[in-house]
């Protein structure tokens, strides 16, 4: 069976977020004061969901399918997981940043909506791994 290499997409994207997350951190260090308050959740979630979460998901896919040789339950779900994770994270970060300005018209509920998208993408990842591992190698 051909070894899947979709994990690379997760790792490459994670490295992209590794550049973006610390860039927000540098911006906070430069601007200080109110910019720190506006950017803290965006900075932490870009680093943790973008860099840590995406790279771990990519490496977990690599370990389960390439090292242990389990058969992937659904390649489509891997794609759905990837795009929903990015959409959820970027949307959440944008709403967080936008809603923290004084008298901002951007609603706070956007954070919850995109957070739900992010949580749903995690559920898809878990579902796909569980189905693949229980299906055998």
């Amino acid at each position: 069976m051909e070894q899947p290499d979709f994990y690379l997409r997760f790792v490459y994207t994670a490295v992209g977020f590794l550049v973006a997350g610390p860039a927000f951190g540098m911006l906070m260090a430069l601007k200080r004061r109110e910019w720190v308050l506006r950017l803290v959740p965006t900075h932490t979630h870009f680093n943790l969901l973008g860099w840590v979460n995406l790279s771990l998901c990519g490496l977990a896919y690599f370990a389960v399918f390439n090292i242990y040789g389990y058969r992937l339950y659904s390649p489509l779900l891997v794609n759905v997981h990837y795009w929903l994770a990015i959409l959820g994270m970027v949307g959440m970060a944008a709403f967080w940043f936008g809603s923290r300005w004084p008298k901002s018209p951007i609603p706070v509920w956007g954070i919850w909506v995109f957070g739900a998208v992010q949580a749903f993408s995690s559920f898809i990842f878990v579902f796909n791994i569980v189905k693949s591992v229980s299906g055998g190698s």
């Binding site: 943790l48 370990a63 992010q118 559920f123 591992v133």
Partner: protein
């Protein structure tokens, strides 16, 4: 997959779902669930991230580097110590924070805070102990 590795994979994914759901709930309830912030952070970082890193480290050690694992028993003890410690720590953190915030709103001192702080500290020590076991097992395996 080695039997002792499956619990690491399963636990990490359960914490991922629990941590994400808690975060979503915090965003939904806005300011009313901010006492859960330390629990949310620790469930995600110690539960999801650390358990998955342990799983990957053991998997790569056993399958890719060709080294032999020093002790499977240590890995099992590490799993239980780390996870019991984390559940206790996250629970104590949430109870302590919400109790403290409620008492602060009522402008009253927080009774029993020493006990709750001690329980956070003791469960945290159990988590630290599990990290030490991982370190020991890895060093012994790589030098073995």
């Amino acid at each position: 997959m080695e039997p002792f590795l499956k619990p690491y994979l399963c636990a990490s994914m359960i914490y991922l779902l629990a941590g994400s759901f808690l975060g979503m709930l915090m965003a939904f309830r806005r300011g009313r669930l901010m006492s859960a912030t330390p629990a949310h952070a620790h469930i995600n970082l110690v539960g999801w991230v650390s358990n998955m890193v342990f799983f990957l480290a053991y998997a790569f050690l056993l399958k890719s580097s060709g080294a032999r694992l020093y002790s499977e028993t240590l890995a099992v003890i590490q799993f239980w110590a780390g996870n019991l410690g984390l559940i206790g720590m996250a629970g104590s953190m949430y109870i302590y924070r919400s109790w403290k915030n409620r008492m602060a709103l009522a402008k009253q001192p927080t009774p029993g805070s020493a006990f709750q702080q001690m329980s956070v500290w003791m469960c945290g020590a159990l988590v630290m102990f599990s990290f030490f076991l991982f370190f020991l097992n890895m060093v012994k395996s790589l030098n073995g």
